[in-house]
């Protein structure tokens, strides 16, 4: 069971909204699925993200994947230490492994709650 205090995209990102700020990361399933994480690229504070559009990239086993934003808005904080400590992402994808915080202007229309995301994972794994 994934935490139900936040919402998820099918592409395995989560966002936890507190007031008008969303904390965004990727799920434990995504981390496990990517296996050997090598590089992570995150945007800078002050840049904007759009719901459903990529905001970062992550590399594992010579495979690069886009990371998509569940919300639109301006980035107010970035987990600057994370790209140099990807073990944190492996150990705690839902808390210490957060990636960016965004002042939210709108959210993606296709966000799922925790149980909905669990169902999606079951389907994706066949």
């Amino acid at each position: 069971m994934r935490p139900n205090d936040r919402q998820y995209l099918k592409s395995h990102e989560w966002c936890k909204i507190d007031g008008d700020v969303a904390t965004i990361g990727i799920s434990d399933y995504a981390v496990e699925h990517l296996s050997d994480l090598v590089f992570l690229d995150l945007p800078a504070v002050g840049s904007t993200v759009s719901a459903g559009e990529p905001f970062g990239e992550i590399e594992s086993v010579k495979a690069v994947s886009d990371i998509y934003s569940p919300v639109s808005g301006e980035i107010v904080e970035v987990n600057e230490a994370l790209p140099d400590d990807l073990d944190t992402l492996k150990a705690d994808a839902f808390e210490a492994g957060w990636m960016i915080r965004v002042k939210v202007s709108s959210t993606a229309p296709d966000l799922m709650d925790g149980p909905g995301y669990d169902q999606h994972l079951a389907a994706e794994q066949g």
Partner: protein, 252 residues
């Protein structure tokens, strides 16, 4: 479109194109393509491609006449001279995670090589991956890691990398380089020319790579050659700039 409905498999033989355009075409087939495409291509002029997270400054002084480009895929730098390059772009599917995709595609290439008399073997899946941080300034072919195809002498024969996008469709691109003749810039690579006279097998190897990839990706499907459309070429031309690197620049 399900995979069991006899969906056709598209084959694109691009011939020799510029490095940036080659990468842009793969990007178009990944992000705008539908179904499964197998593509073969070559490089004119020669290319030096670095992985998405590599620093171009390490490769600024490499001798030779080539265009420096940054791939959207991972891994290390490759000098693209006399080689057969292939790409596959397809909808993500259950069971084909990153590792399994390498295994299946590399085994197809292994069979294609065997058909023209070149021996290779795949490094087992439980072998360690190359040291992550060392990849920042590394040549792709310098060290063989898990899933890589190696020649009988243990040197790496196939370099490949992947990219996955999940929107608008969940799709995977894998492209790979089979070195035919060894480039001066990377004298440590294994080359098909070490085992067979490449001028006699170029066309046959091209066909074998396409056939084996088609069989692996879409068994039982009908493969048909469908060249890039003018719309796709125009889109690729517009994206090509994104892959070009001036020395020391980071344009992605």
């Amino acid at each position: 479109m399900s995979r069991s409905d006899g969906a056709s498999l598209r084959v694109v033989r691009s011939g020799a194109l510029s490095p940036a355009l080659n990468l842009a075409i793969d990007d178009v087939l990944l992000t705008q393509g539908v179904g499964t495409t197998v593509r073969t291509y070559r490089w004119e002029p020669a290319g030096l491609s670095i992985g998405r997270f590599q620093d171009p400054k390490w490769f600024a002084d490499v001798a030779g006449t080539h265009q420096l480009v940054r791939r959207s895929t991972g891994g290390g730098a490759i000098y693209h001279g006399d080689e057969l390059t292939f790409s596959v772009a397809f909808d993500a599917r259950v069971g084909w995670d990153t590792d399994e995709t390498y295994v299946r595609i590399h085994d197809a290439i292994l069979r294609a090589l065997a058909s023209i008399g070149a021996r290779s073997q795949r490094v087992p899946a439980d072998a360690p991956a190359p040291s992550p941080r060392a990849q920042k300034n590394a040549w792709c072919f310098a060290v063989a890691g898990r899933h890589d195809l190696v020649a009988p002498d243990g040197r790496k024969l196939l370099g490949s990398a992947q990219r996955r996008v999940r929107r608008p469709r969940d799709r995977i691109l894998l492209h790979g380089s089979l070195v035919l003749g060894r480039p001066q810039a990377t004298p440590f690579v294994a080359a098909v020319a070490d085992q067979v006279a490449v001028d006699e097998i170029r066309a046959r190897l091209d066909d074998a790579v396409i056939d084996e990839l088609a069989t692996s990706l879409e068994p039982g499907s009908h493969a048909s050659e469908r060249p890039l459309t003018s719309t796709e070429l125009a889109e690729a031309a517009a994206r090509a700039r994104r892959f070009e690197l001036a020395e020391g620049a980071n344009t992605l």
